[in-house]
């Protein structure tokens, strides 16, 4: 493996050192060898964030993912990663690996998205050698055992069939929205875990072939953070240098957003459920790599900061009306949002969508809430943000970035993503960009990117046909409350309950839950 230059990203390092020195005099913790002061450059194959923590975090990233699943083998990237992280190696069974991890209280996780596959784990530095020897073996000397393969294939199928279709209406709605936007022919056009049919046909040979082709030096980025010894990173790089050279996946096939047919389209997933979950969205031509991303980040945070009671949609739908648990908006993929407050790192994508997530509402309010979401979205595009909202949101985001990068594992994840997008370390990038931003920038970006004539809407509900009928006939959807509401709200409700959704009958489809991701 080629030796990389030890270049320092100044901002991060200076902050890190100042703090360390200030505390060092008081600390009773044992001091360690001075760590090497290196950070990545865009060309480096590693992202290194040494510090004095007693913990060491690994993020071993491969630039491959479900977008690289061969046609007809949807789910192969995920199954390959699962088999590595949750299967045996050539010399150890999976049970032996988990047994070895037990006294260290460690684990090794995998995550597959469209373009990225990441393996991550954190160990106490006491156990670094032992832990590293395990994960090195897991990634470099896999066992590809048939019993592990059968078990994990079944897990993947059960995830699609049971967990997603049958146990999580919210995630189901969000994932269906993506399949509405990206057709099956698009590299993004299937769920990361695959499809039930394709998974059933996968063989162990498929997994071996995928590993050979994708787990290469060209696709590899090593991420390390924490109090590891001075020569450790070099050893890791040398070990992983034994992977085949390969060629970089991200350069292989250019990705572009699909050209969606104009007009609103609605897919209603029918399943036995107590409530109604809604997701709305469309593709946007902005990622962190584009200069308008911070402007859109402000708009999305103002409109629907994830799990925050301070955002506009939440205030209107939950606080003022008590319709559900929360209502949010996104400009990046954010899976598992019902389980976590902050997004996971290493879900970098060249193509993103704008998304509105309405958490489950009582079925009788489903149509009203759909109208309310569209009403508020139209209002956002029409009116943009006020100066006060702009200032407070900008201030929030420039500080909230610290919360997003609170742990060294978070910092490592964000640094890997910054490398992917070709921007500075994330907190610096955000603070600098937000400082330069004006209200005019944000309102222009809203008009430019968030105005769409191709809204896609995914709904999960029990009475799918009844809802379809109501939408197509533009039936009024009056709402009642169990407590009196201010006139401002009831007046607005009168507008919302008749808010017209223009959609052709052919564009409102009903599908049974057991047919999705088939």
């Amino acid at each position: 493996m080629k030796k990389h230059i030890a270049t320092v990203a100044l901002t991060l390092l200076v902050v890190g050192l100042t703090v360390s020195n200030a505390v060092a005099q008081k600390s009773r913790r044992p001091t360690r060898n001075a760590p090497q002061n290196r950070m990545n450059t865009a060309n480096s194959k590693s992202v290194l964030l040494p510090n004095r923590s007693p913990l060491v975090s690994f993020r071993i990233l491969f630039m491959t993912g479900s977008a690289n699943d061969p046609k007809g083998k949807e789910g192969l990237a995920s199954l390959t990663a699962a088999l590595l992280a949750e299967g045996g190696t050539r010399t150890k069974t999976y049970a032996q690996i988990t047994d070895a991890m037990y006294p260290m209280a460690t684990s090794f996780s995998w995550q597959v998205d469209k373009e990225m596959t990441v393996f991550s784990g954190t160990t106490h530095v006491d156990n670094l050698e032992k832990y590293y020897s395990l994960i090195r073996e897991i990634l470099l000397d896999p066992g590809f055992r048939d019993d592990d393969f059968q078990r994990l294939k079944e897990d993947a199928i059960n995830y699609l069939k049971t967990s997603l279709r049958g146990g999580n209406d919210e995630e189901l709605g969000k994932e269906v929205l993506y399949t509405m936007i990206y057709p099956a022919t698009h590299p993004y056009g299937h769920q990361n875990m695959g499809t039930v049919g394709a998974l059933q046909a996968l063989t162990l040979k498929d997994v071996r072939d995928f590993y050979q082709a994708n787990y290469s030096r060209a696709n590899l980025v090593i991420g390390l953070a924490g109090g590891y010894p001075a020569d450790f990173a070099k050893r890791v790089e040398a070990d992983f240098g034994k992977l085949p050279a390969g060629s970089l996946n991200r350069d292989a096939a250019p990705l572009s957003q699909p050209r969606l047919a104009p007009g609103t389209q609605i897919e209603i997933v029918q399943r036995e459920t107590r409530s109604t979950a809604l997701s709305l969205g469309f593709p946007i031509d902005v990622t962190r790599a584009q200069k308008d991303w911070p402007a859109l980040a402000v708009a999305a945070s103002y409109f629907g900061q994830h799990r925050s009671s301070n955002s506009y949609l939440y205030q209107r739908l939950r606080e003022a009306r008590g319709l559900n648990y929360g209502d949010y908006a996104y400009i990046e993929y954010f899976p598992r949002g019902m389980f976590q407050f902050q997004p996971d790192a290493n879900l970098g994508r060249k193509l993103q969508i704008f998304q509105i997530w309405i958490r489950p509402v009582e079925p009788q309010n489903g149509y009203f809430v759909l109208r309310a979401a569209l009403y508020e979205y139209d209002k956002l595009v029409r009116e943009g943000m006020s100066p006060e909202a702009f200032e407070s949101t900008r201030e929030f985001l420039s500080k909230y970035v610290n919360v997003l990068t609170a742990t060294q594992d978070d910092q490592l994840g964000y640094s890997l993503d910054s490398r992917y997008y070709g921007i500075k370390d994330f907190p610096t990038y955000m603070r600098e960009q937000l400082a330069k931003l004006t209200l005019a920038d944000v309102n222009r970006a809203i008009k430019q990117y968030l105005k769409s004539d191709a809204m896609r809407i995914a709904i999960v509900t029990k009475d799918a046909n009844g809802l379809r009928d109501a939408i197509l006939n533009n039936k009024p959807s009056p709402i009642t409350y169990n407590a009196p509401k201010p006139k401002e709200i009831t007046d607005e409700d009168k507008v919302i309950e008749n808010y017209k959704i223009v959609v052709k009958p052919a564009d409102v489809t009903v599908v049974s839950a057991d047919k999705v991701f088939q």
Binding site: D99, P103, A105, Q111, N192, R336, K399, N402
Partner: protein, 447 residues
């Protein structure tokens, strides 16, 4: 999709024995300041830049709800504290927190109520001022109060759709006859329904417990101790000490095994709780840490019983021990979710046999060592940010008001022998101190 390893237990790796005893489990430097009014401040500067985690721990939980008909008020108060105060409305409060980039929330437990925020270091003084205002000058009117009691009822209703929640409620009510642990943090439903009529009592609760002598402020992060202390003195210095001490009833001796059953109105997997009376938290006595280690060894994911009932025979959907640190004697519970109701007696017997087994048999030293190692590393790995450190600390502050209890506790863990575990099991797992609760689908509903 992200999946974690499920780990299983085998041989010990005794390499830790030396290193462990030398290093403190809670290795951070901290300062404890006691204000004249009884308020305690614990400050922990860390290497994590820019952020501050502020945890305000009130040593009041459902344990303090001693009057008949008044359960659930600690939790109700956790809600009321967000409705505004003398100088800030709820909305103004939201705006200040937004400008600080803050993540803010609160929770209630049996022994404590915890209010927590994480935000940028520059906003510490402002947020301490905001917190001081609600702790000293909370404001809500009768209408606002009633609205919030409905929200609490809504939360009870949401939880009540969970059969395990219901089984736990019945377990507590069956096992405790006098002590306030008889009710869950939510409270008894009849008390929750009566809350709208108890506006005046709610203020009584606030006057009793929202006092400096019950409260510990924990500040962790990119902070300077002097500055924190000065802000806390400025904003909390005038807070008046109270004079109320609750008389928590002690639970009388249990002289017979108890059982209770719940008929669940819809389809559910059968739930089984097998519990024995255990000891209260202690950082000096051997029994609580010995039972804690045993809970993982006997009933955790690496236990023989788990391997047998969950993985090999596949009779169980899940099996886990519940034995949490409490100020007063707490139950040691094994929680099993079955796949089929026909296995209920078999599984119950297997669990009881396992309890009995460890009253006679010694745990292998190797198993004890690897479990102790796992516990210690798991604790170290959990403290990976200022917020995580404060969060971990909050539960110990609720018990003993000082971080020192953690290191005392871990040195007791280090001293536990297989014989200590056997002795603790023999002392606590006696039939007359047993309570079993089952929950199954009502016969008419069962398919």
């Amino acid at each position: 999709m992200k999946l974690l390893f499920v780990v299983s237990l085998i041989l010990c790796v005794p390499l830790l024995a030396l290193g462990q005893t030398a290093r403190k489990a809670f290795a951070y430097d901290y300062t404890v300041d006691d204000l004249p009014n009884g308020l305690r401040l614990i400050t922990i500067p860390t290497d994590y830049p820019n952020l501050v985690a502020l945890y305000i721990v009130v040593q009041t939980g459902s344990r303090n709800e001693i009057e008949k008909g008044k359960s659930g008020y600690a939790h109700l108060f956790e809600h009321l504290m967000f409705r505004g105060s003398e100088h800030y409305t709820g909305q103004q409060r939201d705006q200040i927190l937004k400008k600080a980039g803050a993540d803010a929330n609160a929770y209630t437990d049996d022994d404590r109520t915890v209010y927590h925020e994480v935000f940028s270091k520059d906003d510490l003084d402002r947020i301490l001022e905001l917190e001081a205002d609600r702790f000293q000058s909370l404001k809500y009117d009768s209408a606002g109060y009633k609205t919030e009691t409905r929200a609490v009822l809504g939360e009870f209703n949401k939880n009540s759709s969970d059969p395990e929640e219901k089984a736990l409620e019945v377990l507590r009510a069956t096992a405790y006859k006098q002590h306030t642990y008889a009710h869950t943090t939510m409270g008894f439903i009849e008390d929750i329904e009566d809350m709208p009529n108890q506006f005046d009592y709610s203020w009584e609760f606030y006057r009793r417990y929202y006092r400096p002598e019950y409260t510990t402020i924990v500040v962790v992060g990119d902070v300077n101790h002097e500055a924190v202390l000065s802000s806390v003195k400025k904003h909390f210095g005038r807070w008046q000490r109270g004079n109320y001490a609750p008389d928590i009833p002690s639970e009388p001796e249990q002289n017979e095994p108890r059982e209770a059953h719940v008929d669940w109105p819809s389809d559910t997997l059968p739930v089984l709780y097998v519990a024995f009376r255990g000891p209260a938290y202690s950082d000096e006595e051997k029994d609580p840490p010995a039972l804690d280690l045993l809970s993982a060894i006997a009933f955790g994911e690496n236990s023989d019983l788990y391997q047998k009932l969950v993985l090999e025979e596949q009779k169980l959907d899940s099996l886990s021990p519940i034995y949490q640190d409490h100020r007063d004697p707490e139950l040691f519970v094994v929680d099993a979710k079955l796949k089929d109701v026909k296995d209920l007696d078999y599984v119950k017997q297997q669990i009881l046999d396992t309890y009995k087994r460890y009253t006679k048999e010694l745990v292998p030293q190797a198993k004890l060592d690897s479990t102790r190692s796992r516990m210690r590393y798991s604790f170290a790995l959990s403290m990976n940010s200022s917020e995580a450190i404060a969060g971990v600390l909050a539960s110990y502050i609720g018990l003993r008001r000082t971080p020192d209890t953690i290191n005392k506790l871990y040195s007791v863990y280090d001293s536990i022998t297989p014989e200590d575990i056997r002795k603790a099991a023999a002392k606590y797992f006696v039939d007359k101190h047993r309570t079993i609760v089952t929950l199954t689908t009502k016969k008419e509903v069962a398919k």
